[in-house]
Amino acid sequence: MSHRPELLSAMLDGELSESEAAWVAAHLDGCGQCRSELDGLASARSAVRGLPMLDLPEDVHPGEPRVTRLWPRRVAVAAMSAAAAAAVTIGALGMIGMASDSSTAVDVGEAEAILAATRSLGVITDGSEAAEYVTSGATAHFSARQTMACLDHDALIDRTVDVTSMGSVTVMSDPLSQLTVLAYGSVATGPVSGPIASVTVTGPAPELDDYDVTAVMTEERHDRATEIVTLGKAGIDRARLWIDVETGVIVHRELLAADGSVSCVADLVEFEPSDTPIQASIPFDLRAEVTETTYDPVTTEFPSVLGGLELVAAYPVEDGEVGVYGDGVFTMAVVRVSGGHPDSVSADRSPTHVWESGGASWAVVGALPSDLLEAVLDGLPAPDDPNPFIEGWRILFG
């Protein structure tokens, strides 16, 4: 008589058809081996079923979504280019800046309140180093280090910068490159090691309205209470922000691809907020050094929209130009330099992607979800076919 042991487990679970059950019952009568097998399976099943049902830990807070404390609406949205030794305050600032007088919490409906709060998010992009930092530009003073990693870009970004916020001034400095970026009010300044100039570029404001903003739940992070807020577009989550409840500072960010996978993670570590201003080591007098220049967007060959991000500013650099794109949540820059090796584009910029096309070198700088990055690259000139001779030469001789 044939044995059908796989039916024994299903029998224990009441998952046999009538005919199968009848067959098993008849078979068991005459088969000691299967009876013994059944006993063993039954005890294994009971052992698992006997495991205690554990309580959900108390610090999981799937309660009512709440609106966290709203931070003052005073921010800078800035991007900068070290190549130009200049900084750019992108167009969103115009919109946000104008609405920035009030620092009172908004007492309208929940979603609107959060949306209003999000309007005050500042995106400070150190375009030169692809370190992007979203801050409330809040009056909370803090120091921290930001670690950032993008998992599935062609070029892995994995770096740490020191961040000091002194109210309206945010200082980001990279211990490795000695590059320091200052952003304050509506102006960001260039690296302290080079000539300092600042540039304010005005342009169309990105559409923040496209994003749904939802406060989801609270979570302890680095022993501090944080509120998790999701930013979604067209029903797809695009970013999650962990906002420190006490200070309103975003202490953790995840950028999401359309399939929900995490493309980039940025984390503030050693986050130390303070009621009083923190002295960052700025080796020069900020007020004395900064000069403001305003550029209107230059005539540019860059597309007006790339991967859903709008061109909000463009400005010339030596032998080329830079286009800054944003949608209110994501910011990135496209760099085009005529001639030269891609290294000439990537120097000082830590780009996400570099390629050559039609005699020019191109770079995309900035942290984006992987599918947005793909869409951005699709909208730009395709890379030239690699020249096998040159490639071989590079492999052999660097």
């Binding site: 679970d13 399976l41 698992v48 079923r49 959900l56 799937p62 998790i228 029903g235």
Partner: protein, 167 residues
Amino acid sequence: MNDPSIPTWEDVARTHGRKIYNYAYRLTGNPHDAKDLVQEVLLRVRRGLDSYTPGSFDGWLWRITRNAFLDDVRKRKRRPTSPLPDDLDRLSIASSPAADDVLASIRLGEDVQKALLDLPEDFREAIVMCDIIGMSYEEIAHAIDAPIGTVRSRIHRGRKQLKDRLG
């Protein structure tokens, strides 16, 4: 969203949070990972409810849970997993018959949990869905997108291995 057959997110969190936690805990043996998974699933449910069309809600939820778990596993692949705490000595339970029973059941639970973690992932998943969550074979088949025959076979082979490991 006013369809009574569609639960609100708060309902999901309240009624399913504990099940999701137990599912994740038994699959990973790690309370931190399990907690993270609950948060992740609830975030996804929150977003997904807007586009959810009435149907098998549990099937939908467990698909989300499973996908979140698999995504997490992929992310953690390179990270060594933290083993279960071995030092039962830390549990200072006074020696009494009742306490001995408790201790014995804890030891047994740990043995079972360890045996579960030793199973191939596919088997472990099917067993946890069946014996911890109490899902039917059909529900499991729907959640893991496999034929019922596969579910039946995985549960059986998983139990057989468990039996061998538990002696």
